[in-house]
Symmetry: C2
Subunit: 558 residues, 2 copies
């Protein structure tokens, strides 16, 4: 084979040369400098948003978008340069070269491209193209998740999402936090509750066994019996030869035969244990010792507990990664896979935690206003008139801070508005209550703190009143809860009692308790649901539209 | 309950007040300004690396580390301030306040902290502490993954890892790339091969069914028969009443009874189908329609195919996230869960791809030299003398570029060195070949391009010679292959043929083919194994030491 290949090599000329690199200019950079770039020669690539022939087919205008910004570049192509009909269909890709020109007075473009060379074209059969010119609803676009990034809305969301992720890393780096990659596959359950996805290789393991058994069925009992008899016979032969003082050569040969027979029996024994299906122990439970990690493993619901191990060593850390819930939720606010930002700070109490959350959220809002203005204007124009106002308000207004007890008191005194869920001290505040606090009562972000311990997780620090824990939620207009955090229980004995109170076993948390056994520190942290932040920023209504590839019950396209 | 809680509320004073925030100063910022800060009052928190009483127990020196840098702050505490024995044990946490002073002449510290208040202490029982003063090996530290971040080495790795992640986001943002979160749970298989982890809720589904059946066994056939007879009887009663022209009231009541009986039968029918174990179809295959996504789902092995959908709309994108391999590898170079950086660029050929990879790798090296100098010096001193040299070389030397055919030629002509695997045109280069090229022949990074199509994936662009594809690998000293990339096949017909040639079905790739059907563009991308990059930078030998929570066969701690 290798020789054949070498011969073939000699026969053809193998590619050693490389095409020269493309020096493409992004539309964003062209439009940012506007008319000042007139006269410059550029190569531009993108997809045609709309194209129209004009001047009786003597030239065409293309609105070209390359995803670098929401705006299109107007491109003018002469019929002499390229057959126009092949360029004007929506969705067509082109790589073109030409000169930037100031367009005629009175047009809205600040600059346009006069093409003199069409370098590449990727055509589109408009009848088959899944994105028709008539606008699809966001809901319909979810069925063409592989093409929807070509729409203005999903493109704008992608740029806003990028800027929010980037601003997150900048904020934490500027403040001395280290980014820690907490595990996706975990054998811990953060909340002691919550539906988790299981990660396994047992199905492929079972498939392999089943395939093997099909090709080569398990031995029957009589197969094994026959093989055992053979062993006995070979053994007898050896014994007889020894008694008969046979030659060394003869005995060695017989012993070798006995060995082969014995090996065959043990192989049959082994194979007789192979069973189709998921391996089970004698008591009927799944034999996870056959799984990849030799135990049950799950997809993480939060990196918090793990990131605490880094905070209790490196002081200020954060994790930003995917988290998972196997809940059968079909709402516009839930995903099976979503991204979370979770900072964790040593030597920090609840007040420090709130300060950090407030500064972080404000930083994000300000960042978007400064770095994503056009996309925000697009969202404001098409989806939520108040989107920019909201960012401005949140970025510039100190957050109100009230205790849970105070919040309940305020909500109980509300007149002229009936909540679906009655407000009583001890309830978990519902979205309607949270939004009323931030949107109606305070008209700005509100941090509610010191929640009843019964409705919060075991790791939150018990307050001196013995009834509340040092938890806090940041509530913002439009989405309600955006951030949830707490000071963590750093006292070993209290933490143990809280784990047991929650009905959980201590053993799986021994490593977590070790952080309190050895050099424990007060520490605090919070989680921000990244998609919630994007909903808050964009004003979009459905979380499935702000993540590139949404996963929810029954759907995991691509 | 709510009332009881309200009463209790009245009885205790609930916490409305918050502790004042801690204004802690990081050791990094203190040491960065050194002696210039003498005279300043600060609060510092950290963990004691070593502590020793001096002056016959009248004071103690603590070497304090807070993870912000590899260096410790020297802290001096008087016996009058705090019982010294409680502070000096390795691993003890302290939050202390005091004044920064210039230490006596001749000591190596540039500044030290004279403590006048000890605010918090987290003690350690040194006999029980899993990190003894005598250094544990990196291998032993893997058994205390929750505490190992307190060691100098793992702390330095965490800071280097952070800087590499941060530099990655900076590089791509500066170059107009958008960060796209590709899915973790996927129903596509990127390579058409590779062992994948399955994601499922079928085990918890089976557990629920089994529990339910235990509490309430499935109906027997005679139960169902009896219930069916009851339906017949109730039906007869209705019929008879109708014949007898009974009152509307009587008939309605009988119909209602019949309805109840029918519902009972259908409930029994339903329950009789409940079977313990994983649900199976009639043909014995697993009934994935009962799984969360109503089909088989897996953990991603690469975000490339999905991120291409964004590149073919937004031009320059990248993904940076966890990827998974369920391979039974116990080597020092493989993990079941690891992070990958995967840029994807539209309107870009293989040359553009190489340019991007070279600039990115150089940017990372330069970034570390500028932002992680002390940690790099620590690694050079303790693990790999050449680590800093290597970064300097790679950041400042243009990468050699040679075709695969040329590389094979060079390796075949090597004398005085025998490779374990014989070099022939057509083989997949092994690590020994890759390292020889970069370490011995060129003594700098090498990009090998245009590989035989047989050893590369279907999506790589077929060259005109019909024998090679436009693939490229970046090889660097110490680790060999650091980056693998290619120009993608943008021609619909060629791509289809390549999929079929690879023995794969077309149907699962229809969405991927759509990118070529509608406005196709030349595009290219690559993947950088993030942990490989850290191994390359630090000179460490085992990949399990450069990820916070390593996952490999049989191990998924925490």
């Amino acid at each position: 084979m290798a020789d054949a290949a070498t011969d073939a090599m000699a026969a053809v000329s193998l590619s050693d040369d490389l095409e020269p690199a493309t020096s493409r200019t992004s539309i964003r950079s062209i439009l940012a400098n506007g008319a000042a770039r007139a006269g410059e020669r550029v190569v531009v690539g993108g997809w045609v948003k709309t194209g129209r022939e004009q001047g009786k087919g003597s030239f065409a205008f293309l609105e070209l978008n390359d995803g670098s910004c929401v705006a299109n570049l107007q491109v003018l192509v002469d019929a002499a340069v390229h057959p126009l009909a092949r360029l004007t269909t929506t969705g067509t890709s082109v790589l073109v070269e030409g000169e930037l020109k100031k367009p005629p007075e009175g047009t809205k473009q600040c600059v346009e491209l006069r093409v003199d060379r069409v370098l590449e074209v990727g055509e589109v059969d408009s009848a088959a193209y899944p994105l028709p010119k008539t606008k699809l609803t966001l809901e319909n676009l979810r069925d063409v998740v592989h093409l929807r990034s070509r729409t203005n809305t999903i493109g704008a969301v992608a740029r806003i999402r990028h800027q929010l992720a980037y601003a997150t890393h900048r904020f934490f780096d500027e403040n001395g936090f280290l980014y820690v990659h907490t595990p996706i596959i975990t054998t811990s359950d953060c909340e002691g509750a919550g539906e988790m996805f299981q990660v396994t290789t047992l199905f492929s393991h079972a498939e392999k066994v089943e395939k093997e058994l099909k090709e080569n069925p398990a031995p029957s009992e009589s197969d094994i019996e026959a093989a055992s008899i053979a062993v006995k016979e070979k053994g007898d032969v050896v014994a007889q030869l020894k008694v008969a003082k046979a030659s060394k050569h003869e005995i060695t040969a017989a012993v070798a035969q006995l060995k082969v027979a014995k090996e065959y029996v043990s192989k049959l024994d082994e194979r007789s244990k192979l069973k189709p299906g998921i391996p089970r122990r004698d008591d009927g439970t799944v034999a996870y010792e056959n799984d990849f990690f030799k135990r049950q493993a799950f997809l993480t619901v939060s990196g918090q507990l793990q990131v605490e191990t880094y905070a209790c060593a490196l002081s200020s850390v954060y994790t930003f990664g995917p988290t998972f819930r196997a809940e059968n939720s079909h709402t516009s606010r839930h995903l099976a896979e979503f991204w979370m930002v979770e900072p964790e700070i040593a030597f920090a109490n609840l007040q420090d935690d709130m300060n950090c959350a407030e500064r972080y959220v404000q930083y994000l809002c300000k960042w978007l206003l400064e770095h994503c203005r056009e996309d925000m204007e697009f969202m404001a124009k098409n989806y939520d008139k108040t989107a920019i106002e909201r960012l401005t308000l949140v970025s510039s207004t100190p957050f109100e801070r009230i205790s849970y007890t105070k919040a309940v008191e305020l909500l109980k005194n509300v007149t002229g508005k009936k909540f679906e869920k009655k407000v009583e001290w001890g309830i978990d505040l519902a979205s309607e209550h949270e939004r009323y606090l931030t949107e109606v009562i305070f008209k700005k972000p509100v941090i509610v703190y010191n929640y009843p311990k019964e409705i919060k997780a075991f790791y939150m620090r018990l307050n001196d009143d013995q009834m509340t824990v040092a938890a806090m939620d940041v509530l913002v207009p439009k989405v309600g809860e955006l951030v949830g955090g707490s000071q963590r229980e750093e006292r070993l004995d209290v933490l143990k009692a809280r784990i047991l109170d929650a009905g959980l076993p201590l053993e799986p948390y021994e490593w977590y308790l070790d952080l309190r056994r050895f050099g424990t520190v007060k520490h605090s942290g919070f989680g921000l649901g990244f998609e919630r932040m994007i909903l808050f920023a964009t004003g979009l209504e459905n979380i499935r539209d702000v993540i590139p590839f949404p996963r929810y019950p029954g759907r995991a396209d691509l």
